[in-house]
Symmetry: none
Subunit: 224 residues, 2 copies
């Protein structure tokens, strides 16, 4: 999954150049000429890094970032600005910037700094995250994302999906599931699993178009 970088830069040609170069490195980019629709996107998309110009029409970039920080939005930010005085740089960092690049800047250096930040902040693959196709399970927050939309699961449903997702390509029989998901002390019927699987399917694929969970007749269920 490629990192998503949001760019705010009011000079259209510079913006294009940045998007082109970052895109060539395999990053996804969303560019804006001002901050108007940024907040909207931040709440909808999973942005990994923000590149922010400071001299923007209307808003001042670093003030905008400061307001994001006050809202508890801690996405990493690199300021890219012609403001190169010591006080300017100080202000940029104090308002929550992670790095500060002064114009004119080299594309190469920008890319290096982008990578350095993402290397630290982007959740390294499968650290607390389990994925299968377009499903992402986050263990810590106990949340399920399917195609960037959040789906609420009950505890049982979550544990069940986690068992399946961490045993991809392995058919889990009902006995195994009852023991590992439900817990071994109580005694349940095999049908209990059927119904639970069903309720899970209904939540993660209401249209029945994805077929995430495959039934293996006579044995159990699997994600494959």
């Amino acid at each position: 999954m490629n990192a998503l970088i949001l760019i705010v830069e009011d000079e259209e040609d510079i913006l294009e150049l940045m998007e082109f170069n970052l895109g060539r490195e395999g990053f996804e980019t969303i560019g804006f000429l001002n901050t108007k629709r940024v907040h909207e996107v931040l709440s909808e998309e999973n942005v990994d890094l923000i590149l922010m110009d400071r001299n923007l029409p209307g808003t001042e970039g670093s003030e905008y970032i400061a307001s994001l920080r006050r809202q508890g939005i801690n996405i990493p930010v690199i300021f890219i600005s012609a403001k190169d005085k010591d006080e300017d740089i100080e202000q940029g960092f104090e308002r929550g910037g992670d790095d500060y690049l002064t114009k004119p800047f080299s594309m190469k250096e920008l890319i290096l700094r982008v990578k350095a930040i993402l290397r630290r902040t982007k959740k390294s693959p499968n650290e607390g995250n389990s994925t299968y196709r377009d499903i992402t399970l986050n263990l810590a927050s106990r949340t399920l994302m399917i195609e960037n939309s959040l789906i609420e699961l009950t505890k049982l449903e979550f544990d069940l999906l986690y068992a399946l997702i961490s045993n991809q390509n392995i058919v889990l029989d009902r006995e195994y599931l009852l023991e590992h998901v439900w817990g071994s002390d109580e005694v349940y019927q095999d049908r209990t699993v059927n119904v639970a699987i069903n309720r899970l399917k209904e939540k993660i694929d209401p249209d029945k178009s994805k077929e995430y969970i495959k039934t293996v007749r006579g044995v159990g269920y699997t994600l494959c």
Copy 2:
């Protein structure tokens, strides 16, 4: 708990200047004129950040860092070097640097960059101030501000909110909370947490309009 910064710089007067300025900002520092004893210290002390010169007697700083990285040591590194060519900077980042400052540099900027990196990588929340949405916890004065108005919390309530706020997006189960907020010596019931959470909710959101704390049925509570 102050951050510990390890510095390798072969020019003695620059090293002293750096230690003096960083010390004045409240950082602990350990300075070296070469890399000889660095590894030893890294294994004994809990170093939060390394400031590394490149032109050192004997070793080349960035090569030394590269070897640390190969050993799985991922302490953040800021290179501080007179090598300012594009290729030099590229090499610095590729060998595992998090930032690159070219000599001559301003102490102010160094401190800002140090803080920016520690803000992200150090586990402890930044400077005793934790925020979430419009909530601000001040650890030093143990006070809580919500939308510019002061709210009084009891010790338990404060500690509980602090646990939640410093683990945003992570569901904390009752066992964890009892151990970390209440303390592990005594034995309490799980319900105790419910009641405490309730009292906290009542104080921080009497109208029940904000929904700061989310209940995760069957698991625990989270701020998200």
